[in-house]
């Protein structure tokens, strides 16, 4: 958990604050509301998880932060994305380029798809170093080697001249992390960084990201569907469903007593190493809805076991329930009244 203290001035300073973000895609079937009224924040030095199933908008919200949404068909319809107090949505494309990769870096799921196959690792690393940090050729080579060593690539002096295909998947993801860190960003967004990797490699990489956060005070957003990773590496969790936040709380709160029926169903539907083997998993009925045809009211109500009349009519707002715990559910609001 958060052992890092960013000094008194840094503590509790919001490095990122997303307010009421709406990112829609225009499709033949009408507007697809990938992200629809999302708000959350990240403190300095904190590690925040964004959890949900495919199509819940977790990746789109991260790409919206970097303004990487292809337009058309996508569009950030409204909202604010405050990075150190500055609204990223108001910046020009030129100003945004200064932020991307430089102050906010992103690591994607598929490292082999994000690395250029025809350029050596050195070329790809030094490109950002020369562009953003103004290093010359010699300096950028030295810095590239230092970065590769930092992310644990053995024999970095020689390997820096290799092409991506000469590295294994885990090593490629290390290179992605090295690239992400090359400009000393304040915020690192990792979008399913270890989904395509084996468990032992996943553990190595998550430890690496966590170490970097503790030692350099960088803030991290981890986007994942893996609740185990959340338990181990995240301070605070945001659970998304159909483009909205359904629950936001500290990691311990999430696992001790989730408030939203979706969160508790999600937790109960994974087989776990720590529960009796034959314990049956709870199955969530049905599928996440089609985003162009969302059900009325709370979008989870057709799958919810506690759905009431009001759930079919009104969308529950995200409300404060205790401490740092927020939940968007009428059933739960009632419980805490």
């Amino acid at each position: 958990m958060a052992e890092f203290s960013a000094g008194e001035e840094g503590k509790n300073r919001k490095i990122l604050e997303i307010k009421n973000l709406r990112t829609h895609f225009h499709t033949k079937a009408g507007p697809l509301k990938a992200v629809d009224g999302l708000s959350y924040h990240v403190y300095k030095g904190e590690s925040v998880g964004v959890v949900g199933e495919s199509g819940c908008g977790k990746s789109i919200s991260a790409m919206s932060v970097l303004r990487l949404i292809p337009n058309p068909p996508g569009e950030i319809v409204s909202g604010e994305i405050l990075f150190n107090g500055q609204d990223l949505l108001k910046l020009t494309e030129q100003e945004m380029r200064e932020i991307r990769g430089n102050r906010i870096a992103m690591i994607f799921q598929e490292p082999s798809a994000s690395l250029n196959p025809v350029l050596t690792v050195r070329r790809q690393l030094s490109e950002t170093l020369e562009l953003h940090r103004g290093l010359d050729k010699k300096q950028s080579l030295e810095e590239s080697i230092r970065l590769l060593k930092q992310v644990g690539i053995p024999d970095a002096e020689r390997r820096v001249h290799d092409y991506p295909f000469q590295f294994s998947g885990g090593m490629q993801q290390r290179i992605m992390i090295a690239m992400g860190l090359s400009c000393k960003p304040e915020l690192l967004i990792a979008d399913e960084p270890t989904t395509s990797l084996d468990v032992t490699i996943q553990a190595q990489l998550m430890e690496l990201i966590d170490d970097l956060r503790r030692t350099s005070g960088i803030s991290v957003i981890i986007i994942t569907h893996n609740l185990g990773l959340v338990a181990r590496y995240v301070d605070r969790v945001n659970v998304m469903y159909t483009g909205r936040l359904v629950e936001s709380c500290s990691t311990q709160q999430l696992f001790d007593g989730p408030a939203h029926p979706y969160t508790s169903a999600l937790l109960a539907s994974v087989p776990r190493l720590d529960s009796p083997r034959k314990k049956s998993m709870r199955v969530i009925k049905g599928l996440p809805p089609d985003l162009t045809r969302l059900p009325s009211g709370c979008s989870f109500h057709p799958r919810c076991e506690s759905a009431m009349d009001i759930c079919r009519k009104e969308i529950p707002p995200l409300e404060h329930i205790a401490g740092d715990h927020y939940c968007a559910c009428f059933f739960d609001h009632g419980k805490y009244l």
Partner: protein, 326 residues
Amino acid sequence: MENERILDVENMSKFFPIASGGGAFRRKTADLRAVDGISFHIMKGETLGIVGESGCGKTTTGRCVLRLYDNIKGTVSFEGTDLTKLGAEQARRARREMQMIFQDPMASLDPRMTVGKIIGEPFRAHGEPERKDEIAELFRMVELDPNMAGRYPHEFSGGQRQRIGIARALALRPKFIVCDEPVSALDVSVQAQIIALLEGLREELGLTYLFIAHDLSVVRHISDRVAVMYLGKIVEITRSDELYSNPLHPYTLALLSAVPIPNPRLDRQRRRVMLSGDVPSPVNLPRGCRFNPRCPKRASGLCSEVEPELKPLSPGSDHWVACHHA
């Protein structure tokens, strides 16, 4: 569980030749030892899980068991018949009883066929008439609406496609199914649905599964016994409860500790074993124990000299492990 072995695999190996050079100079230069002399059995009605990281040979094992490859060394006996000795046509007939469910349902369903046709294909492949009522029954078994038979795979979600793949595998009423990462591509909530379906079908139809997956929690949940593979070898095999409560091979230990438990307090108390480096290439295997370059224990010189044998902990024990220091 009946006391009868449905599948008996003895010293099975599958090597893939690596060739280099071109034209007349093309020569076999090495072997990729995907599966390197493994033995195991599966009892009737039992589920055996195979876990391991990519490249450990778990998928090749599943395919060898169905004899989807030629040139398999060793024996693979299914209900007493050695599949490796059969000709192609005999093997095809023997495979009626054995089916496979694949990881990626989109890649394993023909996009130009309606799902009704897809599910009926096994009948055609084995020269049997397609019976409408039987196909409708298969839809029902996987909890799909038979009225959707006229639709195409792309009209279904990932979980529904996996159900279609399962219905196709069930068409000829097999006794044994190899499930190769059947839930890895699915979302958490859908994954639980498919696991519950596979468990239900096992009870209802008395099926035997070979369940291959990299997710240790899923394998533990569904399997009676579990084999851990590393670089083409089984390093540990035992009952599911025993493997997870008393792992003896250092690789099993590392694999288990790499999986975070969804409970922060418990997770922090667990012993963590970190492995360094990647899995070595199955073309240039390390000398001695295959795991020794990454092993956190590496207790003696023996490890880098002699390959440990898979043997029972004590005579008669069902816990087998291949480590000099277990």
